[in-house]
């Protein structure tokens, strides 16, 4: 079969399943029994994090990166997690999902969508060799070199490469800063390569499709836990998976944006569940995902900081009015940022300010105002990056505030969504990165960090406004 030529299918299957199983074991061990969708969604991300940490630790200990020892180690660790989890919370095998004939009204359309869209995406990914530019320029090369060397050869910036002493095996990439990018995505690709026994195959990039599926599963689980009915939850899952730019990043794999977006979203939803249920262990899950954010992309540090700050804020339990004020303040700051770039005087003033040096490999920041508002309108209301997410979010927020008053702004998920939006507005509206607005490179896809969370926030806003039966515990 041409599709499977050149790789070890069993190894690849294990590379896909072992982290997932281990991740699910970690989730169950930490949180106890949770709905299956939540287990699978968070389990996938945590499993990838475990694989990444295992590779880093293995290499730090001086061992050669070889598949079977690594797989055995992860399998043993995963088995240990499951054993511990089952000892703490014995499993009671009983059907937990009750479906009635009326459920077919949402189940059949959703299943049809998942089949018709999913089959196209799987075929496209399986047939097309690595295509997306940043994938083969920035993220995949390190995985290839590490695969060939059996160790995590160091990548440095070009000046350091030139100045390196003879005998030191340092690498550099053709994009100046790419060698200093966080190692998460190359490492999770390396894991797939080790399992498959090759660095060159389309099926190595299945994790990008599975990532979208994991996000959808986690979204379902969290929305059901906050009390949303199955029909609107199914609609939310459909809206998430139908967004074109999210789909594109799943089917033209190799970029890190979708990973960061899903990681941040799952971390925010975990904190939202903490707020909803009072179960503090969800904070631990959010912090683990914050760690993963830092390993994925340079901006991931900023988003990880948001998750940590939100965790600390909630631990502190300030008065609800303070949280509302923070959200409102963030929204006003965002608005100010959007409008400031339209003022020529302010533009001139900031251009005269000096460059802000940042530590380590981080690029220096030059304060520079850019007219962000038109581009924001373009990405949400003119281009079809996110279908009608902009309209949905605005309408849902407005409906919630008008129906429930300012108290409805007391939401940690909304706080994180606002914080993330402020971060993007600051980067593109107040620094030299605004120069890229006209080209469209980076700006539109940066919203991948927030759009999955925006779907959750919109439907969480709608949840108390929709007709619903008496609350029952969500099982699926």
């Amino acid at each position: 079969m041409p599709l499977l030529e050149g790789l070890h299918p069993v190894g690849l299957a294990l590379a896909t399943l072992l982290p997932w199983l281990a991740g699910c074991g970690a989730v169950r061990c930490w949180l106890g029994p949770v709905p299956t969708t939540l287990l699978l969604g968070h389990g996938y991300l945590l499993g990838q994090l475990l694989a990444v940490l295992l590779l880093l630790t293995w290499d730090a200990l001086g061992f050669t990166l070889a598949w079977w020892p690594l797989a055995t180690a992860l399998a043993a660790f995963g088995a240990g997690l499951w054993a511990l989890s089952l000892r703490r919370h014995p499993a009671h095998w009983r059907p937990t999902v009750c479906l009635s004939p009326a459920d077919l009204l949402w189940l059949l359309p959703l299943a049809w969508f998942l089949w018709s869209r999913g089959s196209v995406l799987v075929a496209e990914l399986a047939l097309r060799p690595l295509f997306a530019w940043d994938a083969w320029m920035n993220w995949v090369p390190r995985a290839v070199v590490w695969f060939e060397h059996g160790s995590l050869t160091e990548f440095v910036l070009p000046p350091a490469w030139l100045a390196a002493a003879p005998g030191s095996e340092l690498y550099t990439l053709g994009n100046w800063r790419a060698g200093a990018y966080p190692p998460g995505v190359p490492l999770l690709l390396l894991w797939q390569m080790l399992g498959a026994g090759t660095f060159d195959h389309t099926l190595l990039y299945l994790p990008w499709l599975l990532l979208a599926a994991a996000c959808a599963l986690a979204l379902w689980g969290h929305l059901r836990l906050v009390g949303l009915g199955r029909v609107p939850t199914a609609i939310a899952v459909y809206l998430l998976l139908s967004m074109p730019l999210l789909t594109t990043h799943a089917v033209l794999p190799g970029y890190a944006d979708l990973w960061l977006g899903v990681c941040f979203t799952l971390g925010a939803m975990a904190l939202a569940q903490w707020q909803h249920s009072g179960e503090r262990r969800y904070a631990g899950l959010a912090l683990a995902l914050a760690l993963f954010c830092t390993l994925l992309k340079t901006p991931g540090t900023g988003f990880a900081l948001l998750l940590v700050l939100a965790t600390l804020l909630f631990w502190w339990r300030p008065p609800a009015a303070w949280v509302r004020a923070t959200v409102l303040g963030g929204l006003l700051l965002l608005l100010a940022g959007l409008l400031a770039g339209l003022n020529p005087e302010l533009v001139r003033y900031l251009q005269e300010q000096p460059v802000l040096a940042l530590p380590g490999h981080l690029p220096a920041l030059k304060l520079q105002l850019s007219p962000l508002l038109p581009y924001l309108g373009q990405t949400f209301f003119v281009y079809d990056n996110w279908h009608l997410l902009g309209v949905l979010l605005l309408a849902a927020l407005l409906a919630r505030v008008l129906a429930c008053g300012p108290a409805s702004l007391n939401s940690i998920a909304l706080l994180l969504l606002t914080g993330g939006a402020v971060v993007l507005a600051l980067v593109f509206g107040f620094t030299q990165y605004g120069q890229r607005l006209e080209q469209g490179i980076t700006f539109h896809r940066s919203f991948l960090y927030l759009t999955p969370l925006a779907v959750f926030v919109a439907f969480a806003c709608l949840q108390p406004l929709l007709p619903r039966a008496a609350a029952g515990r969500a099982q699926e």
Binding site: L162, S242, A470
Partner: protein, 413 residues
């Protein structure tokens, strides 16, 4: 209680569907808003030029078939280093005044993704000057162009032509007709839907944004759907304020008022994905990895990389400096070759040699063409970039580049 809930959902859904249907009627009434500024209204008789009135002046083989002019084989041509095909249909002295013609509708079948379709014209205002405008190509071979917005579309037309350029496809190119007319709702709607169904294969920009339609359009689908949803939401809200129904019903209605336009947008996206899969299958279906690489756009670079890796197998741990003329920004050729040469250790910057203190004996230098500033003197065994000369041995020469091995660090002239 359950019954009441079901009724709220049902009435909400009915209200939402009714609102979206009413919104369609309102938008139909508002459709003239998408016409270009100063667009004239449609006249009763649109001007139609059948394809057989054009002569196929650039074609390897062409013939009239019914009302159409068919180019059965494109004329071979070269664009840079690429072999392409060309086809041009021309109408001399059409006897038309450009000022009377606001909108063009072209029916041209057989155009492949990646081919360019261009309208050419000369007018009496500047007889020596040939003007052109690119048309997108829509489904069923129909494409549109706003003529009124073209600055040079003025005066009495002396010549009108349509050209197709690009890699030849398997089908003949059939020019059926050119229509010239003004704007009316029916034609505008036809045009809008034709533009929305235009297909563009994956581009490198696809991971950066999705515009909804390639090239220009009267109105983008997301903007239209957003407007549709907004009008429907306003109607839902207005009905609720008038009838004072339960809040739950209002929210359900609002959800449907948004979901239906979303589904319509998503249908267009699904059509794009399915068409893209057809293209992908045609290019890569039932092939092994190696065979897929032969079909990719950088097949020549991949072959060159394999060639170099065979030569460099004993020298895999040496450093390699890749030089290429494109020195600014990200150049596809040099970056793609670096990727294909992995795991060779490559410094991929600049179009001249690095400073002598950074060069070591046995370092490799790859001059990926074009590299205007670096020359090799085989008689003296020297690489010379004008600032320094470095002793080097030629290891390989190839149409895409040449490979050298440094003998000893160079000295400045």
């Amino acid at each position: 209680m359950q019954q009441e809930l079901r009724l709220q959902w049902l009435f909400g859904a009915l209200q939402g569907v009714a609102a979206t249907a009413a919104a369609v009627v309102l938008l139909w009434a508002m459709l003239p808003a998408v016409y270009p500024p100063d667009a004239p209204a449609a006249s009763d008789a649109a001007l139609v030029l059948p394809g057989r009135e054009f002569a196929a002046v650039v074609a390897a083989r062409a013939a009239a078939e019914g009302d159409s002019m068919v180019v059965q084989a494109m004329q071979p041509a070269e664009r840079g280093e690429q072999q392409i095909g060309e086809a041009v249909w021309r109408l001399e002295q059409p006897g038309l005044s450009a000022d009377d013609l606001a909108q063009l509708r072209l029916e041209l079948e057989g155009v492949q993704p990646g081919q360019e379709v261009v309208l050419f014209w000369r007018s009496a205002l500047a007889p020596e000057q040939l003007h052109y405008a690119e048309l997108g190509h829509g489904p069923a071979g129909v494409s549109w162009l706003n003529l009124g917005q073209l600055d040079t579309w003025q005066g009495q037309l002396l010549e009108l032509a349509v050209g197709v350029f690009g890699e030849p496809g398997p089908e003949p190119l059939r020019l059926r007709e050119l229509d010239f007319g003004g704007y009316n709702r029916y034609d505008a709607a036809q045009r809008v839907f034709a533009e929305w169904r235009r297909f563009q294969p994956w581009q490198q920009s696809s991971a950066n944004w999705y515009a909804g339609v390639p090239g220009a359009a009267l109105i983008r689908p997301a903007a239209a759907a957003g407007l549709w949803a907004a009008v429907a939401l306003v109607l839902v809200l207005g009905w609720h304020l008038w009838r004072r129904g339960p809040r739950g019903t209002l929210v359900v209605a609002g959800l449907w008022a948004l979901l239906i336009p979303w589904l319509a947008l998503d249908y267009l996206w699904q059509v794009q994905l399915e068409r893209q899969l057809q293209e992908t299958r045609a290019q890569f279906g039932a092939l092994s990895q190696a065979e897929k690489h032969e079909r990719a756009i950088d097949a020549d670079l991949q072959r060159y990389a394999l060639h170099l890796q065979q030569i460099l197998q004993p020298l895999r741990h040496q450093r390699l400096f890749l030089l290429h003329e494109a020195n600014q920004g990200h150049n596809f050729t040099r970056l793609r070759l670096q990727f294909r040469l992995l795991p060779l250790n490559i410094y991929n910057y600049g179009n001249t040699l690095v400073a002598p203190e950074h060069l070591r004996p046995s370092d490799l230098v790859l001059l990926l063409k074009p590299v205007a500033g670096v020359r090799y003197d085989p008689a003296r065994g020297l690489l010379d970039d004008g600032a320094q000369q470095v002793a080097a041995t030629l290891l390989d020469t190839h149409p895409l580049g040449s490979l050298y091995r440094i003998a000893e660090p160079g000295h400045a002239q």
